[in-house]
């Protein structure tokens, strides 16, 4: 009798535990889905004369001007990474692993629709607050453009247009929380 009761009790406890587990995993999944996105339509300008595809970095800095996330790094030789001046000074040179992880090839002039989850470099969702998007474009035998746009991460969808520069066409970026 005693053993029977305890078996039943164990079953009930297991069932409750299982249900709890399910709900926890569901809620964490829901939370995962709620991580916002940052969409950037990057425009690299056509240029006259000798053309080398630019090195490009895009990253987010928080209110303390600390980088929380490198979104992209388009580059070739490590030797020229230093020319992405601000990104190299504040981010790249201090984190060789990040550089390796994020690197991809350069691209010639064109339009690039890009989308990123609003997370930091460790894939944790970004907390609400003020951030600045930086886009740095540097071209060998060409110029350098550093674009920045402040935004607040809150519950609102925001859209910005970054004005044309010597190296970039009009860039739109949209924050969807």
């Amino acid at each position: 009798m005693n053993t029977l009761f305890s078996h039943r009790a164990i079953k009930v406890i297991l069932l409750i535990f299982f249900l709890l587990l399910l709900s926890v995993s569901q809620s964490s999944q829901a939370h995962g889905n709620s991580t916002g996105t940052l969409a950037i339509k990057l425009e690299l300008k056509q240029q006259q004369g000798e053309y080398h595809p630019p090195y490009v970095a895009a990253w987010l800095e928080n209110n303390d001007r600390k980088s929380v996330r490198t979104l992209l790094l388009w580059r070739k030789e490590p030797k020229w990474l230093k020319d992405i001046r601000r990104w190299w000074r504040n981010v790249g040179r201090k984190d060789a692993e990040l550089v390796d992880a994020i690197t991809s090839a350069t691209h010639a002039a064109g339009s690039f629709p890009l989308s990123f989850e609003l997370t930091d470099d460790e894939q944790h969702a970004l907390t609400e607050g003020d951030y600045t998007l930086y886009i740095e474009v540097v071209r060998e035998k060409g110029g350098r453009s550093l674009l920045k746009q402040k935004f607040s991460l809150n519950n609102q969808t925001q859209q910005f247009t970054l004005k044309e520069t010597a190296e970039t066409g009009a860039i739109t970026f949209t924050v969807t929380p």
Binding site: P78, K82, R85, W88, R89, G92, K94
Partner: protein, 268 residues
Amino acid sequence: MNFKKATLVMLALAVSSQVSAHSRWILPSHFTLSSERGEWVTLDATASNEVFNVDKALSIDPLSILTPSGKKSRPSSAYKAHRKSVADYFVEESGTYKITNNSTPSYFSTYKVGDKRHRARVNKMELKSLVSANATSLQTAYGLTRIESYITMNNPTENYAIDGKFLELLPKTHPSEVVENEPATFVFTYNGKVQSGVEVEITRDGARYRNNPETLTMKSNSKGEITFTPIHAGRYLLIAEHEQEAKNKTLADKEHGGVFLTFEVQLQ
């Protein structure tokens, strides 16, 4: 206005009573490097009053490079041209390198015969036996002038290696993090203690092509610090001087320290 003029005259006198030599510098081809396998850097050394146009080759016999791991190393090759000395160095480790071209502390004497000013690299006692009886304005200083620069490959390190002798510059803002329109702070020490009142001049590259050299002039504060906000990116020469009465006047009347630091101001 009068006061300003007076200080200018005094400053001119102070400078002329000192070594009154050319500015000197080591100018690396790169202050900032990114590399996985190492990079060559070329160092130019010259004595010139026109930042950064070369004039007279500077001896680089004492050139020493302190690696990020604390090893003293020498350039792999060097060449002395008429207007500059050139040295090659392979930067292999990640971190900050301190490059110095310091001679040893030395005596420097000046005196006059009639209106003509003379100099001699001797101490006060040697000077007395050297000069004729009609020599006037005998003055001897004992000091050290440092010629230095920092270069950084990949991650910066605080490889400042201060030795506590004469005038020294201790970066508070890392030399690889001086940025246009952002304040930068350096600290001066004399014999290892923070030194106020150090005279500092900072001049940007390209003085030949400006009517006004746009030299920043300042003095270190009570904490030995100078803080300045460069408004242009580029290469800069900092000249710092400090002179004080010698403690023991047997061999010198004064002692002095100088620092010539070459550094870059980066784009924002």
